[in-house]
Amino acid sequence: MFKCKTSPEVGGMGHSVKRKEDARFLHGKGKYVDDVKLPGQLTMVMVRSPYAYAKILSINKDKALAIPGVLAVITGYDLKEFNLHWMPTLLSDTQMVLPTDTVMHQSQEVCAVIATDRYVAVDGAEAVEVEYEPMQAIVDPYKALDKNAPLLRPDKENQKDNKIYHWEQGDRNKTDDVISKADVVVKERIYLPRIHVASIETCGCVASFDKDTGKLLVYLTTQAPHAIRTIVALVAGHVGLSEEKIRIIAPDIGGGFGGKVPVYPAYVVAIAASFLIGKPVKWIEDRSENLVNGFARDYHMDCELAATKDGKIQAFKVSTLADHGYTDSSANPSKYPTGMFSICTGSYDYEHAFAELDAVYTNKAPGGVAYRCSFRVTEAVHAIERMVDKLAAEIGKDPAQLRFENFIKKEQFPYDSPLGWTYDSGDYKATLEKAMDMIGYEDYKKEQAEKRAQGKLMGIGICTFTEVVGAGPSKDFDILGIAMFDSAEIRVHPTGKALARFGTKSQGQGHETTYAQILAEELGIPYTDIEIDEGDTDTSPYGLGTYASRSTPTAGAAAAIAARKLKDKGKKIAAHLLEVSEEDIEWEVGKYFVKGAPDKSKTIQEVAFAAYTNFPEGMEPGFEATHYYDPPNLTFPNGAYICVVEVEEETGAIDVKRFVAIDDCGNIINPMIVEGQVHGGLTQGIAPAMYEGIEYDDEGNVLNGTLMDYLVPTAVESPNWETGHTITPSPHHPLGAKGVAESPTVGAPPAIANAIIDALAPLGIKHLDIPITPAKVWDAIQAHK
């Protein structure tokens, strides 16, 4: 286990210090984008399409403009004058900012109403008269592939059908060959439905263009302020917005989970409106808008897992159909259109794998939000973990035993996976053993046998996942060509207190505490003496933001290395002050001392003061350091989750009796914060497993676009999460740390699904897609009677 090097007062790594940011959040003093009120500020509200697919015949603004306080109605034609009615997506597709002739999904932005206040703006939006000619929407992605299906994107040159791209990785022929000769092959079509991040704070912005200075200031709920600044400069450069004139400020954020990475059309409209009007324009998405736009998942995966009759896995193949909605606006910063999906070979040692994917257009909201997962890891892990359990059921082997027999062994790391990743470290056996001990696995197996003998339905589900987080190495990632490093800039003041700034942006992760702890660990300056600042592109160093569990792997590493640069400079100053040569100086946390004479010492605070007052001749004064960290590899946290459920046959009711989550995220900065992350993530894992999923009808209408019907679980629905850790440090990260925030979201759904399906196994049920609700279970039970 990890041993703390610092005292609790210094609060370096391993101390569960309380979060510095919580006082202001708990006292209601957080400052969110909707708290921003600028002089002369106007409000913008979007008019949205009631149809999933329709021609726009006309837009009549007259009645809206007649309402006192309504100042403007902006349509696609208005933006077209500035060539701003379309925008590029990160994945080289195009997305409408506002339409001129066609709407492509229900609730798509049709036009924007600008008014003096929000109430007036909403009345104005209702008064805009839009004449539509509805068309038959394509909702089912398989139907989008029909030869006779209408072409959804005739605006794109060379687009002959509704396919967006084909991607593949691995050796198809060899994999097919191994599968065809295998003793056992299990197959399943697994669907992960669309889900929303449903963060408490919706999206929003305040755009303020000053015609006199030519500067654009945008307060934005964004996880990636610097990247957004560059994107705005590239997209709107032709109207005169260049990057040095653009300032993005991400204030406090009430939950991101990937949903605050994309550039939404309304941001562009608000910026354009402020640019034209010369006044600040605020747009705050309401809950209904938030729930019908932006989504995650939506992968239909045909899986085949081949093994020997004893259960030694030989090959895995997955062919996926991805429903991207009407444009591929995936918030995916990797160089691969499917992100990290090729992690789908899992925690197991075998040679042959092949993954392919076809992406198609449909009349649904565009997306690809990586909801609390590095892009497409949740889909990948669900596929392999369901299939491993299916294999265990098929050959009648205990699923834990099957995993032990197939795990990549501790001594095999760094491990080259069949689809091209190099896993950094792990001890999968130890992690699963710990989970089994904690839950009392063998006792539950006995109890299950007894219950089954009485005709009762009880299930045990395991998930032993490997995650891939910390985007990322420049060989795998970039945004518009910008490598996915991140940055830290430390200024130690003459009094020994510090200010540190980062290119990331916390949305609840606790950066103000954990970054301070990293610096405390490295420099010995108490974490309480270190202020952390992020989110303002005018003041913080360039970075790519916070998502993909990347803050600790990238900016956290940058902090450690910048601190080490300072420590090196401090050593020279200490030698000067102690009148010895640099080679004679040694370091222990917070203090330089003379080798062999520990009472001859200078504290880091004394050294910092000297850096401004009494520095060696020829040395540059000051005590500051900056580092930009391009990670050599991703980090590969892993975990073993075990879930025990009971299902009532008569009603389909599902009772999650136990859930044990053992995570291995390497060295831990703040155990309490990690615990909080895991609890939140597990709850966001039970959500798609048992509650959430966007439902569409045949016309493309979203059927559950309110929180009444989109079932975000609460504390009442959450079982008592039992958590624990094994620690296998990352060999390439300066602190031995790995990302953790996404592991529970990725690992929980298959554990829960496996448990429920295991409970239903005596009835002949072999698979259910998530969300597995009591109604779905009941229907399945009837179908198997």
């Binding site: 079932l711 679980p713 109604a775 009941w778």
Partner: protein
């Protein structure tokens, strides 16, 4: 999520409310807790031009037994019901139900009168009122009227109340020895409307024979529904396991659920069967105490 323009009126008395309603006619709507009406207004499913807030009228919030009758003031909140010692002691059916209705912040404002005046079969209280043979007391332009619950619910969001009628009181036969009740609903998550719910009220005589029985169903029909055929099976009988099963089957047959996001029609029929049986057993157990 912003309602269209409306004028807010605060009624100071029942007569004041009725006068305001008379002035503004069909364009006016009474509001008590507002927790059904306001969401509809925010979604612009309803756009009344005048809101007459009756929630501040004095004297309409009480829970008391008066002679042979339990009287509930229409403005009594669900939370007041939840914490009433009288309810806790003698009326389990209400204790069961209020805990399952929405969440504490809704229950703090949502009233018992509003819950039934809204005329929504998805609300929990209509089923209870049907099971308990309640009488609804209303005051309107023509004075006071008393409406038996079986004549109260007319259709989806439609009741026997005229536009100017203020629901002032609910009267229920007082709990007596040998009576017991129970309510349960299956919900998708805490605070959800019922997938299906069942309210049972049983009165036994000294020999354990069922004298009176009320069975109300939640959210399995367009109009709140009393399971008359099921009641007939049990009335005048000693309640046996066999009869309970028969009634459950009748509930699944007579309910009129539709397939929706809460589940298939068949699932709902099965659920209503199961809960009907379980609640009869629970109510019987309570009546026998």
């Amino acid at each position: 999520m912003i309602p269209s323009n409306f004028t807010y009126h605060k009624a100071t008395s029942i007569q004041d409310a009725i006068a305001l309603s008379k002035t503004h006619g069909e364009e006016a709507k009474y509001m008590s807790g507002g927790h059904s009406l306001l969401p509809m207004m925010k979604l612009r499913f309803a756009s009344p031009e005048h809101i007459i807030d009756i929630s501040k009228i004095d004297g309409l919030s009480y829970i008391k037994e008066d002679g042979e009758t339990l009287k509930l003031g229409a403005l009594t909140t669900q939370t007041e019901m939840e914490y009433s010692s009288l309810i806790k002691e003698k009326y389990d059916i209400f204790s069961d139900s209020v805990k399952l209705t929405a969440d504490p912040s809704v229950r703090n404002l949502g009233t018992i009168g509003g819950n039934i005046a809204h005329g929504d079969a998805a609300n929990d209280q209509p089923a209870l009122m049907l099971a308990l043979r309640a009488t609804v007391i209303a005051e309107g332009i023509d004075g006071k009227k008393s409406i038996p619950i079986d004549e109260f619910f007319h259709g989806f969001y439609m009741t026997a109340l005229d536009a100017s009628d203020v629901l002032v009181e609910i009267q229920i036969p007082k709990a007596k020895k040998g009576s017991g009740g129970a309510y349960h609903k299956v919900e998708r998550k805490a605070g959800d409307y019922a997938t299906a719910g069942v309210a049972i009220h049983i009165e036994l005589d000294g020999h354990g024979t069922c004298q009176q029985i009320g069975i109300g169903l939640t959210n399995v029909s367009a109009v709140p529904m009393r399971l008359e055929r099921g009641e007939e099976i049990l009335r005048g009988q000693k309640i046996t396991e066999d009869l309970i099963k028969q009634v459950g089957k009748i509930a699944s047959e007579d309910a009129e659920p539709t397939s929706d996001l809460r589940g298939s029609e068949a699932y709902k029929r099965s659920i209503v069967n199961t809960i009907t049986q379980r609640m009869i057993r629970l109510a019987l157990e309570r009546a026998q105490k």
